[in-house]
Amino acid sequence: MEAANYQAIYWVILLPLLGALFQTLVGKAMVQRSPGLGKLVSGGVAVGTVLAGFGIGLFHHLRLINDPGSVKAATITYFDWINLAQLHIPVELRFDALSSTMVLVITGIGGLIHIYATRYMAEDKDFTRFFAYLNLFVAMMLILVLGNNLALLFVGWEGVGVCSYLLIGFWHKDLANSRAANKAFITNRIGDVGLALGMFWLVALIGGNREVLGLTDARWLSYDVLIPAASQLLSQFPHETFWISLLLFVGAMGKSAQFPLYVWLPDAMAGPTPVSALIHAATMVTSGVVLLNRVSEIIALSPAAMSIIAGVGAITALLGAIMAWGQTDIKKVLAYSTVSQLGYMFIACGVGVFYAGMFHVVTHAFFKALLFLGSGSVIYAMAHNQDMRNYGGLGKKLKITYVIMGIGYLALAGLPFAFSGFWSKEAILGPAVNDTATLPLVGGLTVGAVAGWVGFLVAFMTAFYMTRMMCLTFGGKTERWREIEPAHHDDHGHDHGHAHGHAHDDDHGHEMDPAFFMTEEEAHAAAGHDDHHHHDLDKTHEPKEVPWLMWAPLIPMAIASFGLIGVWMYGDVWKAPHPHPFEGFLHSAEVVTAKNGKVEGGSALAPRNLEDHGDDHGKEEKKEKGVDTNTLVLVSALTFAGGVGLGLALYGRRLPASEGFDLSKWNPIQKAAGKQLYLDSALSGGSSKGVMGLASAFKVFDKGVIDGLLVEGPPKVVRAVGGLLTTLQSGFVRGYAALMQIGIIALVAYFAYVVSQRGGQ
């Protein structure tokens, strides 16, 4: 691998960064001077930088595929960042299959979303601010995936966290949005602490054992040095491996919205829809999977950590699917669906098929971004009302959006063979149900295998709730918004189900501790509800198809959602010989060297020993005890058909009365699902109450010990002594005289004593 061939890859990062700078320094002034032309130019620059990045990325990606070298990974060093005697951290990028795939996903989908956003945000007065954040986000995400050491990864990691915060709270005048942004940021901090601790531990272990390992390279935080060294060292320390893996996984949990840190993701829907599509479906939330892929060699050393990852993934997938079923907000359905799909990715990582996790990241990025943008189009057409109970029969009005979203729907629901979602889901669930590497759980099944079967259940539920969403939005003949009563501005009307009046029907059911954020009254007073609404949805509304700039970008995503593309790109999953073609691509370094039989101390970034894990690629000995491929396909097809069938039966014609605006008619399970099974209020409320309790304990300590003893103590002592001394200075002349006399007597007595001791000398 000639690193020089990939030298120019830094432009991928630099261009969006310059774009963000342009938006803030030049774009804003331009838009102020002439809004029409200014928005055209600054929108063009925003789109252009990302698409140019895609071009550069694609060029290098093709060069990487066609590279004759055996190890398909290039390390490109630019300049020194931290240079200590023992530790050298340069700014260097790693261009390999993993990062180049992510670069294409980020810039490709990101570019399309930028195009969409130029139209979606056209009427917003903070147009340039939005694109500054969006460009900055793309740059940070690229630093995260391209950086070749943990320090750079952390820079990107925090960078995307900040951008996510800024974008969720983009309409910050609405207090609910600011709250959602705070929640996302704070929840992510928990994960970041885990990541930081894991990194520190790793650094301490490697740094302390440099001589044992014979590391001569001071650059030992870079992946190509760190990962082999760590896997060599950690195989002797099972406990440390477990904890380090777990801490790194906690980091991934935060960003990738795993249970119980998923609570921020549904609230993050407060941001503009393009943000939801880009950050909270396609890119940022996948960074946890990217991280686990990067450190896969370390994590794979600990079966316990792997079991926890698979288990958490399964719980997340299941909870997300249940909660998606109870939502009435179209974006919330997709948000929980994202949580659920992220769970799949972690099941994959947990059972050791890291490549399948990445495969699902890629396919999911396309169809979920597509679905989000499609829902954005629906929301746009429906006067920014997000409540599905007000939709219905939109299939005839928004034909293009309907077809495009239909493709995304089938991909997510997993129509067998035809759509990409099916392939990536199978790539995960096949190895998962045959898993033997994780810890045993029940009935001879390992955690991974149980997670795999839970995955099939979730696949059924996914088909079901997505059918529900599609039917409620596009299906049926009743145009339910025509039944809306004239909006009355009763801010607490949500409880009674009259949510029509508000474009951002945020979940007022969140019982956040009022002391932690603000009371509802203050929130409404501060919100300024008429800031970014155009007009409310009412019975006279006529939905129109969205402008072409808002559906054209979805076409490439729709095409990419077809399974045929996936098959063309990655080959036939079943017929191809082991390994999976995507695995072969993603971990080309290891696979190639392993095939040539010359693995030398573990090359850069490859997963190890994947053959141990179950697979569905037709290995004879596995077939006997494992579940074979044909059965799995059958199960998948059945789950799909069952889910879709049930959904159509329940929601095909109309909105069931039991899911209308009157919440009292809802069945309790679904109602609970709609409210996150009360987990959010329990977790957020509980943790904020816990923190409040802790804080009041600290307050006692602070008031008592710090303030009372250390700060106010010395003055008190001085004052007391002074008070004692002032009684001497009474102004009472005879008192002074008495004191003088006593003093004189004492002095004389002392001298007399001294003189007598000396014998009169």
Binding site: S730, G731, F732, V733, R734, A737, A738, Q741
Partner: protein, 121 residues
């Protein structure tokens, strides 16, 4: 037999002088403490000073007279000189003190030492 006074004095032992001086000193000290009229207090202070003078003179009397070649610091002269100093200072002190008392009396029409507890008038 009538003895000259100097001879009689010489027969009085040192202890008697010291005892008288101590008695006068204590009387003066107690007087300073218990009397509230500043004039009487002054008199008591004078009494204390004079008792000290008496003690100084008695010691001077019993010290060697100090011949040639001896330091005057070790001779009787030093005690007698000290008495002169004390008397001069006492005179000056009385002059100042009585002036202050007169000034206070003019502004307040009474002189009780316990009422003079403020530095401002």
């Amino acid at each position: 037999m009538i003895l000259p006074i100097a001879t009689i004095v010489q027969q009085v032992p040192l202890g008697a002088f010291l005892g008288l001086g101590l008695t006068l000193f204590i009387m003066g000290g107690v007087g300073v403490l218990i009397r509230r009229n500043p004039v009487v207090v002054f008199m008591c202070i004078e009494l204390m000073l004079n008792s000290v003078n008496l003690i100084l003179l008695s010691f001077a009397r019993y010290l060697p007279s100090g011949g040639a070649g001896e330091s005057p610091m070790n001779s009787a002269v030093s005690g007698q000189m000290m008495v002169i100093f004390v008397m001069a200072i006492a005179a000056a002190e009385v002059a100042v003190g009585l002036g202050i008392i007169m000034a206070i009396f003019r502004s307040r029409n009474e002189v009780d030492i316990d009422d003079m507890s403020l530095l401002k008038s």
